[in-house]
């Protein structure tokens, strides 16, 4: 486990090194048998593997160096997420190192940042962002949870849902309405008044549900409020959706490789089935979807790392998530069909890729939701020249 000083070498070179180290890690540090073993368990992932990932510095890619991170960009995070997703690694990289880390970094609680960010980076502390409450309701401003002033701190009530990677979470970054504005709070798992539950997902991972009943936190638990809280959540959402897109890109890439291998080796009617034009053309259409997904992803990553403004960032994140979700679903569904009956068995891996694609596609807004957000951000309303629905 060597931690390379990535900032010291040029972009193309350090990105290649990063991709190599991720490929090396997935070849040795994880395998499909481990993924299968963890399916449906209450652990969801392996803390020892998480700490190995921390050892490479990957959890701190988006955390500034002053808080113990690498201070790199989404491009680097996408390389890691895509590589890990190729191996269906269940560790909660996007949930913690993207969503939670981004919200925390964007917050205004300096003491909390100094205390918790280095521990997040080292793998000692695994927080998740607890913001969503209802299915398909992805506007953080519509949170129903309440935080009322109480004994010099706050008392929180409400329910947060659809949090992957929460099974072993040590802390929650919780959004709530407080005094007529949105606010973000830090709740350690052992806070009194919290009840935590799990729902098993199609791919064997879990969504966590957090029930807060008079959960009492001190004033120092306030991470951000008002515009700052809103911006932290928006940024975390866009970054999370983009990196979930990178995960989908990894899933589709590996599923297509498996399918092409099968088309080249499966013999029926005296020849490899990949020699049949009907199947060749379908394979080509899957390849085109994969290339479109990567082209959009790369364009978005470069623009976001270049400091794209909030509305542009949101439009790009939606383009990425919409394309990657649809492409990954199409490719993994076709992977089953092109493998025939073996593809529908649990022992064959193709189904694992389909199910991961499904859970990633549904999380943080499905393709249809993102296309509608994109429409709202980019199509001018009836009033000429005025963007409609651009709330960011």
């Amino acid at each position: 486990m060597t931690r390379i000083n990535l900032a010291a070498v040029p972009n193309a070179e350090h990105r290649r090194m990063l991709a190599d180290s991720v490929a090396d890690f997935t070849a040795r540090g994880t395998d499909i048998a481990r993924v299968r073993r963890l399916r449906g368990t209450r652990e969801e992932y392996d803390r020892a593997v998480w700490e190995q990932m921390a050892g490479f510095g990957w959890l701190g890619i988006l955390v500034p160096e002053s808080y113990g991170g690498l201070g790199l960009g989404l491009t680097e995070m996408a390389i890691v997420a895509k590589g890990l997703a190729r191996a269906l690694t269940p560790e909660p990289l996007t949930a913690t190192a993207v969503l939670a880390a981004t919200a925390l970094v964007a917050g205004e609680n300096e003491a909390l940042k100094r205390e918790s960010l280095p521990r997040l980076v080292s793998g000692a502390l695994q927080p998740v962002l607890a913001w969503q409450e209802a299915p398909g309701e992805l506007d953080p401003g519509n949170a129903q949870a309440r935080a009322a002033p109480f004994e010099g701190g706050y008392r929180l009530n409400g329910t947060k849902r659809y949090m992957p990677g929460a099974a072993q979470a040590d802390a929650f970054l919780v959004s709530a309405q407080s005094g007529g504005t949105l606010a973000l709070f830090w709740l350690p798992k052992d806070t009194a008044g919290l009840r935590f539950g799990l729902e098993t997902l199609a791919d064997g991972r879990c969504f966590g549900t957090l029930d807060m009943r008079d959960a009492h936190v001190p004033q120092s638990a306030l991470v951000a409020r008002g515009i700052a809280a809103r911006e932290a959540l928006d940024r975390a959402f866009d970054f999370g959706a983009t990196i979930a897109g990178a995960e989908l890109a990894g899933v589709m890439e590996r599923a297509l490789e498996m399918t092409l291998d099968y088309l080249k080796t499966r013999i029926q009617f005296g020849k490899p089935i990949g020699a049949f034009q009907a199947l060749q053309h379908r394979a080509v259409d899957l390849h085109i979807q994969k290339e479109l997904a990567n082209a959009v992803l790369d364009e978005a990553l470069a623009a976001m790392d270049g400091g794209a403004k909030a509305a542009t960032r949101a439009a790009l994140a939606s383009r990425v998530k919409a394309r990657c979700a649809d492409a990954a679903l199409k490719i993994t569904r076709e992977a089953i069909q092109l493998h025939g009956a073996i593809g529908f068995t649990d022992e064959y891996d193709a189904g694992l890729f389909l199910k991961r694609a499904m859970t990633l596609a549904a999380w943080l807004g499905n393709a249809n939701w993102h296309r509608r957000r994109y429409a709202g951000l980019t199509l001018c309303g009836k009033a000429e020249g005025k963007p409609a629905g651009g709330d960011l």
Binding site: A275, H281, L292, V296
Partner: protein
């Protein structure tokens, strides 16, 4: 003479754009059909006077000698301003082939006349029984003294009736295997025995022709490249053509038209329509991201591989779906020929549809492009 390649990209783009905007006839912007020579003659002269008619040609033949990066900018600006393609195959196709494979005498004779448009070219490749399977072509050229005697017919010859000359593939060895018995010839269309029959397309335009060869005597000096090596000559250009063909500019223009009509008719308030519209818009924008990758590759001076076929498939199929939605958006008006006033927006519903239709057929059909990708990129067996 200006060394265009030494200019900063932005300066070059501005200079090209300014000239196009100032000089190109406005009524010929974004026409939804192939332009005819009588319409484009003046523009050709203007470009030639400025020394800009042959951006891809070297200096010695009166070209701009643009490198790949500047060439992409030049083409982008042509497209951006909606400049119609003149009958330009002499500049884009046969000129470069003559430079590469032609004799000194051929170069000295044909290149200046091609640049000045004294000679206007059409392409004689396809035949009634040789479309996607081009190497099955049967037009025969038999050596007889210092001539070839050519018999056969060519078809889908774009703007042959505007052309003065044709470059064609003809079979010169019937015993050889398919691709290896073919030669590349050029012929003056006034040669006795050549007759043209215009073919009307679905849009009602006579853009292409059938060309008949009946004992046509073509001088041996009109052979370009080696005898029986015509397949090599013809194949030399295909990569860059597929990048140009895969440019998102025409579908982007179709999208703008569709958005204006949709807005004028209030269709974006219809959730069903809006969902389809934005899905198409994203298909196009994501395709533009893919195009951008290939453009970067060209700008770096790298050759385009068979991967570029995916761009043609995606751009053209997306363009067609946009044009289909435009007809639908017109409701009953969508099938009435001509230009309509749609709440103040001038709209032709049918021509964009017709214009996009052959895009998945010409330049290698979508099916052939998929075969290419399956074989050379995905390495699927045959």
């Amino acid at each position: 003479m200006t060394d265009w390649n030494a200019m900063a990209d932005g300066d070059f783009r501005r200079e090209v754009r300014a000239f196009f905007e100032a000089e190109y006839p406005p009524h010929l912007r974004y026409i939804l059909r192939r332009a005819r020579w009588h319409e484009m003659r003046d523009w050709w002269r203007k470009l030639d006077d400025k020394g800009w008619i042959a951006p891809n040609w070297p200096r010695e033949w009166g070209g701009m000698a643009l490198d790949a990066g500047k060439m992409v900018i030049y083409l982008e600006e042509l497209e951006r301003h909606g400049i119609a393609r003149a009958p330009d195959q002499g500049i884009t196709q046969v000129g470069p082939l003559i430079m590469r494979f032609g004799t000194d005498a051929q170069q000295a004779h044909y290149l200046p006349r091609t640049r000045s448009a004294e000679y206007i070219w059409c392409q004689g490749y396809s035949e009634p029984n040789a479309g996607s399977d081009l190497a099955a072509l049967q037009t025969a050229a038999v050596a007889e003294g210092d001539h070839f005697v050519v018999n056969g017919q060519k078809i889908w010859t774009t703007l042959a009736d505007d052309a003065t000359h044709i470059y064609l593939l003809a079979r010169t060895d019937k015993t050889a295997k398919k691709q290896s018995g073919i030669s590349f010839l050029i012929a003056d269309l006034k040669t006795p025995g050549i007759t043209l029959r215009p073919i009307r397309n679905l849009a009602g335009h006579d853009e292409f022709c059938q060309v008949f060869f009946d004992n046509v005597r073509v001088p041996r000096g009109n052979l370009v490249g080696a005898l029986n090596d015509g397949w090599t000559v013809a194949k030399a250009l295909l990569g860059f053509e597929r990048l140009g063909i895969g440019s998102p500019r025409r579908p982007q223009y179709a999208l703008q038209r569709l958005e204006r009509v949709a807005r004028a008719k209030g269709l974006l308030d219809d959730a069903g329509f809006a969902d389809r519209f934005v899905a198409l818009k994203l298909d196009l924008e994501d395709g533009a991201a893919l195009y951008g990758r290939f453009v970067e590759q060209v700008k770096r001076g790298e050759a385009l591989g068979p991967e570029v076929s995916m761009l043609k498939i995606w751009t053209m199929e997306t363009w067609q779906r946009l044009a289909e939605l435009l007809v639908e958006a017109g409701d009953e008006q969508g099938v009435v020929a001509g230009v309509h006033d749609v709440a103040g927006v001038e709209t032709d519903f049918l021509n964009p549809f017709y214009y996009s239709r052959p895009a998945t057929i010409y330049g290698g059909s979508s099916e052939i492009q998929r075969n290419i990708l399956a074989k050379y990129v995905l390495k699927l067996p045959s």
